[in-house]
């Protein structure tokens, strides 16, 4: 504008409209910063500026309400999420503990089964050896049988069998195994076992080594007199193989395992979640302890009972076939259903349990497969109505 275009003096000062507009802009800026404490002024004229002011104020009200409402809902949701997260974390922690317990239980089962297998295997070998010796027609035959049995009975040792000569002063080599190169004969006085009439062991270079054993070696030696009807007939001499010994021989790395019967009973308490929800977790924990105690009381010393997780238990029974395992599971099921439960003086009624039975080697030949088979049978028991014993059937997995 030129100077002629300007109006009379005073037109350069802000007008009332400019002031109102400036005030509205201030209000809008404040609202934009979520400050709703200074609403726009609405004049009595009800004109356009008043309408704009009213509109801005009402929009500000809506935004303020929406902001507060959102904050409240976020806070409420956050609180709920925290509760859920804590509950999930608790469940995760418990699952991890259960998984660790399950792993420990599986490992223990595996070890126990291995021990059972080994023990039974050795018993059967000794039984077979005894049976053979009893029908031997001569001493030579008997010593041959011993020489054959030696590697199987003493897989980690070289061995030799000696027998007394007619004068009973000297023992003569009659058999050896695993490449053992013992002396062909030696005097009675050269062996502590023959002199004492009992087992003699020399560990490394310590202890009293027999004169017939090499003195330039530090391996373990065992001399065992062969006694029949009170008379010493000869000697078994064993040299235990060490890692530094070059003559590893041809001892078997593991004798052939025989099929040994054993059973896994997998048990699950019926409707335990409902029981927990009804009576509370503390009553539930007490019930689990009562069940565990009942199981342990009903099984043999050599059987294994362990908690498999949640409300599941595993019982490993050695030396039984499927029929006997099923009978035992049935007895356990009955005992559990007879437990009179109570918590803090209040009766809780009774519970029932379902059982799945699988036996080794009939249903599986590895611990993992055996447990899986028992679990499948347990599932069948549940599906069939609970409170019963089901035997693994391979058709169940295919179904």
């Amino acid at each position: 504008m030129t100077g002629d275009d300007r109006g009379p003096p005073g037109d350069d000062l802000p007008t009332a409209v400019d002031e109102r507009l400036a005030s509205l802009l201030e209000t809008i800026s404040a609202f934009a910063a979520l400050d709703f404490s200074r609403p726009a002024e609405i004049g009595p004229a009800g004109n356009t500026l008043d309408a704009v002011a009213a509109g801005i104020n009402m929009l500000g009200e809506e935004v303020e309400f929406a902001t507060h409402d959102l904050e409240e809902r976020v806070a409420e949701r956050t609180q709920k999420l925290e509760v859920i997260t804590r509950a999930l974390q608790t469940e995760i922690d418990e699952r991890r503990r259960n998984e660790a317990a399950v792993r420990d239980a599986r490992e223990m089962l595996r070890e126990r089964l291995t021990e059972v297998e080994q023990l039974n295997d050795e018993i059967m070998q000794l039984t077979e050896l005894t049976n053979l010796l009893q029908v031997c027609a001569s001493r030579k035959e008997a010593f041959d049988v011993l020489a054959q049995a030696g590697p199987k009975l003493f897989p980690d040792a070289e061995g030799a069998v000696y027998t007394f000569d007619a004068a009973h002063d000297t023992v003569e080599l009659v058999a050896s195994w695993d490449g053992f190169d013992p002396p062909a004969a030696f005097d009675r006085g050269d062996c502590w076992a023959l002199r004492r009439g009992k087992l003699h062991v020399a560990i490394g270079n310590g202890g009293m080594r027999c004169a017939h054993t090499p003195t330039d070696r530090a391996d373990d030696q065992l001399c065992m007199p062969l006694i029949a009807q009170g008379e010493v007939l000869g000697l078994i001499h064993l040299r235990c193989l060490s890692d530094t010994d070059g003559s590893e021989g041809t001892h078997p790395s593991g004798h052939e395992r025989r099929a040994v019967a054993a059973a896994v009973l997998m048990m699950d308490i019926d409707r335990f979640k409902t029981f927990n929800d009804t009576h509370g977790h503390e009553a539930g924990d007490t019930t689990l302890r009562r069940v565990a105690a009942t199981l342990r009381k009903q099984v043999r010393v050599e059987d294994v009972v362990c908690r498999y997780g949640g409300e599941e238990f595993i019982v490993v029974v050695a030396g039984v076939d499927t029929t006997e395992a099923t009978n035992r599971a049935e007895r356990l099921r009955t005992e559990i259903s007879n437990i009179a439960l109570d918590w803090q003086g209040q009766p809780l009624g009774t519970i029932t349990a379902s059982f799945g039975v699988a036996t080794y080697p009939a249903h599986a030949t590895s611990i993992d497969d055996l447990i899986r088979a028992a679990d499948t049978a347990l599932y069948d028991a549940k599906e069939s109505g609970r409170n019963r014993v089901a035997i693994y059937a391979s058709s169940s997995e295919a179904a």
Binding site: A45, N47, A51
Partner: protein, 123 residues
């Protein structure tokens, strides 16, 4: 049955042909308490029978958010005709329609006759 009720900032009455009418005092700033008082007055004059409502919004200076929510869900009215004139009253009416989303039919009018004709039209 009372045929009219005088509130703190309004007067409510029922016409002979069953039209509910409400007029606010000049420059009224309608709060939630005012809105609830008005609804109570509606119920009194109609005997709790919902009726079409004609409101002259032109004197009103502003309506609080909570008051708008109360009017938007009023169980005492079957439909509402709002008479607007100034830019301010038109803004108040449009905001009520679009933001408060009333649960009954609501329409803005520039004159009373057209508003009454619409309110009486059942079709």
């Amino acid at each position: 049955m009372t045929d009219h009720v005088n509130g703190d900032k309004f007067v409510v009455w029922l016409t002979e042909d069953g039209l509910l009418r409400c007029e606010w005092v000049d420059g009224a700033v309608v709060t939630s308490a005012d809105a609830q008082q008005a609804l109570d007055a509606h119920a009194i004059v109609t005997g709790n029978v919902p009726a079409p409502l004609l409101v002259d919004v032109r004197p009103v200076a502003s309506v609080e958010r909570t008051a708008r929510r109360i009017f938007a869900t009023a169980p005492t009215t079957t439909r509402q005709g709002l008479i607007v004139g100034s830019p301010l009253s038109r803004t108040l009416g449009n905001f009520f329609l679009t933001i408060s989303r009333p649960t009954m039919p609501v329409k803005l009018f520039d004159d009373e006759a057209t508003a009454i004709a619409w309110l009486r039209d059942d079709g």
